[in-house]
Amino acid sequence: MSKMWLITRREYLTRVRNKTFLLSTFLLPVVFILFIAGAVLIQLKTKTHNRIAVIDANGFFSDYLKGDSALTFDFSPGIDSLNYEQHGCSAVLIIPKLANSGKTECRLKYKKALGLEQSSALDDRIHDAVTDHMIYEQTTVSRAKLDSIRQESDITHVSSFEDSGPTARASSQTSAYIIGYVSGILIYLLTFIYGAAVMRGVMEEKTNRIAEVMVSSVRPFELMWGKITGIGAVGLTQFLLWVVLLGAIGFIAQAVIPHDTLSNLPTNGPMSGGAAAATAAIKAQSSGFNFSHFIINTNMGLIVFCFLFYFIGGYLFYSALFAAVGSAVNEDPQEAQSLMLPITLPVVFSFVIMTVVVQDPSGPLATWASIIPFSSPIVMMARIPAGVPGTVPYWQLGLSMALLVLGFLGTTWLAGKIYRIGILMYGKKPSWKIMWKWAFRSN
């Protein structure tokens, strides 16, 4: 058995047997689910209702402006911009006499803001009211007819198909968005969690003064590489366990939670990142979106393969750099912080790019960020679910993968040079200039 394998095995076993590993593996999915459930529940229960007083100079809005569960309108006479609060309204809308040409400005006065969603809904309502009024006034269509047309005309639905030569494959923007987003977040998190674990492991060896004992038995590169692969294997194990656990929890949730609750979930609410994606996923699953159909029609195999490839590639690319930093610093975690910054910045930056790329997977930013190895692991995973070779041509995928492989060979080589010297150095923290010398000095 090779020495590197022994090191990998030790790194893997000591971590997997650790209580922290078991706790984080089994608790994290539970915490994650509780977090999403909590976010969704809060959304459902605390939906605010706004009552808006309207002062209309035209006289027809009371007939056309329609309220709903979130927004209602109060046309009581005697309400003005001073006493609307006494009438139980949260805002007052002043609609002046509409001009025959040009835009007329309606004013909304409030103490408590309506929020983005309701403001835009209010805008739409006013617009609809004006349209309805005009149709009724200027054509012979009756009110009743107009209302029924509005209801009956909602009979179309857009399905998207990815054009792949002679055949077309059904695709779903929603699922591409969700898978892209979730993959991006996962790779981002795993890179950080396990990259930092590599760094801590190296620091531990250095501060425990075992580094020199080790490098008199194995080459420093083997020691570093064994650690990286061992911890990477822990990452994969944990990830697979999460997939299994989340799958099981999802399965149970579907069986237990009533279908209605799921279909009522809001999708476009102003929620942040993961919660939005997760809610969308739950809703998509329950509101007519057939997940099994999706699995058959989307190239799930390719997505899984690419996820594993980019996870491993990204992890190797960054963990080597984390190892180099770990070898250069001493006990003080503060020192590590400052040296880590140049490594964490590109990762965080990739994450930001990823959030843009899931919305627009074909733009130039998406293309380049998914090819350059610094950002490709996170960004490419946001694009692949949108379609290969449609959105992501084969040459881009190939180039991105090849560059990532070259990239991690490069960072590993570089890190190995720094590691070899750094791990035996104690005392002053080296500067970047000194580490650069370690890396490029011929011996």
């Binding site: 022994l6 425990n208 580094a211 020199e212 008199s216 038995s217 104690y426 005392g427 000194i434 370690w438």
Partner: protein, 318 residues
């Protein structure tokens, strides 16, 4: 055939030469003392011998062949001064792991570890973690790990630091035993009395260069100052009765433990001293040559040089 031949070995760091044109030989079964003040280049030299650093110039031959770390490292056991263990790992597992990294098969590793644990009465430690051990216990474990794969060359950097006299003797005995069984030992330390006791051969390094090389008695002879202690009958204190020896053959330089300390003059021999005392009717009770201790030689040789070069500062600018 010498087990290790080092020829013109050189290692440069950015601002200084850490090891400068150093050559020596190490015979099989010998215990070799590598001495020198802090920053003399001992650790750098050892790191080159263990394949951690590559020399810039010169050559190392191991058992007559050019030294190849990948192949020869298995035959070397190195206990560095900066030593440590995985704190959270159990002692037994750790010993097995490190033994296997030295190339032992899992059965061999298990057998050897058990053997040494019994020898050092460490069996009960097997499931303990390193952090639960005292410093001395860790030291013993470290020694076991270093020698357990029966290396041909054992390099021990300050092996007795932190050990009580009982455990020091235990390890000392093992060192002798290993040497008797054909292992060669390089022993690096500042503790001269231990070197005198244990080593057959020493080299003294200063500022990266070898300034002394030889067997322990040979070195002492080389630095002897022709001093003898002479004890004569009937004198509790030789100067008390008013008589003081005077002769062109020697000069009295002091008195110690009821004995005259004399320095023999150029061109005379010890017999001339004895003859003088006999001719003067003094009964001689003792006549011993006073050889310098290694400590004296060490201090004399490195005196006047800054003992601790600012090695740390140099290290970090490599």
């Amino acid at each position: 055939m010498p087990i290790l031949e080092v020829t013109d070995l050189q290692k440069n760091f950015a601002t200084q030469i850490a090891v400068n044109k150093l050559s020596f030989q190490l015979d099989q079964g010998s215990i070799f003392g590598l001495l020198g003040p802090n920053g003399a280049g001992k650790t750098t030299l050892i790191r080159m011998i263990t394949g951690i650093f590559y020399p810039d110039e010169g050559s190392i031959r191991f058992q007559g062949q050019p030294f190849d770390p990948a192949r020869h490292i298995i035959q070397i056991g190195y206990m560095p001064e900066e030593r440590g263990l995985y704190k959270k790992m159990k002692i037994g597992e750790q010993a097995l792991y490190l033994a296997r990294l030295k190339g032992l098969s899992s059965q061999d590793a298990m057998r050897k570890v058990k053997e040494w644990f019994i020898k050092f009465e460490m069996q009960s430690w097997w499931n303990k973690k390193v952090e639960d051990l005292s410093k001395g216990m860790q030291q013993k474990l470290q020694f076991v790990i270093t020698v357990l794969h029966e290396p041909k060359l054992i390099i021990l950097d300050e092996p007795f630091s932190g050990l009580d006299p009982v455990n020091s003797n235990l390890i000392k005995d093992e060192i002798y035993k290993l040497a008797r069984n054909g292992s060669s030992i390089i022993f690096s330390t500042h503790r001269m009395e231990q070197v005198e006791e244990i080593c057959d051969h020493i080299i003294l390094m200063n500022k990266g260069e070898k300034i002394l090389d030889g067997s322990v008695p040979g070195v002492k002879q080389q630095f002897k100052e022709n001093l003898f202690a002479v004890g004569v009958e009937g004198a509790a204190n030789p100067g008390d009765n008013g008589w003081k020896p005077e002769s062109p053959a020697f000069e009295v330089v002091g008195e110690r433990d009821s004995q005259w300390i004399v320095k023999i003059s150029e061109g005379y021999r010890s017999n001339d001293v004895l003859r003088y005392f006999i001719d003067n009717g003094k009964g001689i009770t003792a006549f011993t040559e006073i050889l310098p201790s290694l400590n004296d030689i060490f201090i004399r040789l490195v005196e006047g040089t800054p003992l601790a070069r600012q090695f740390q500062a140099v290290k970090s600018s490599i």
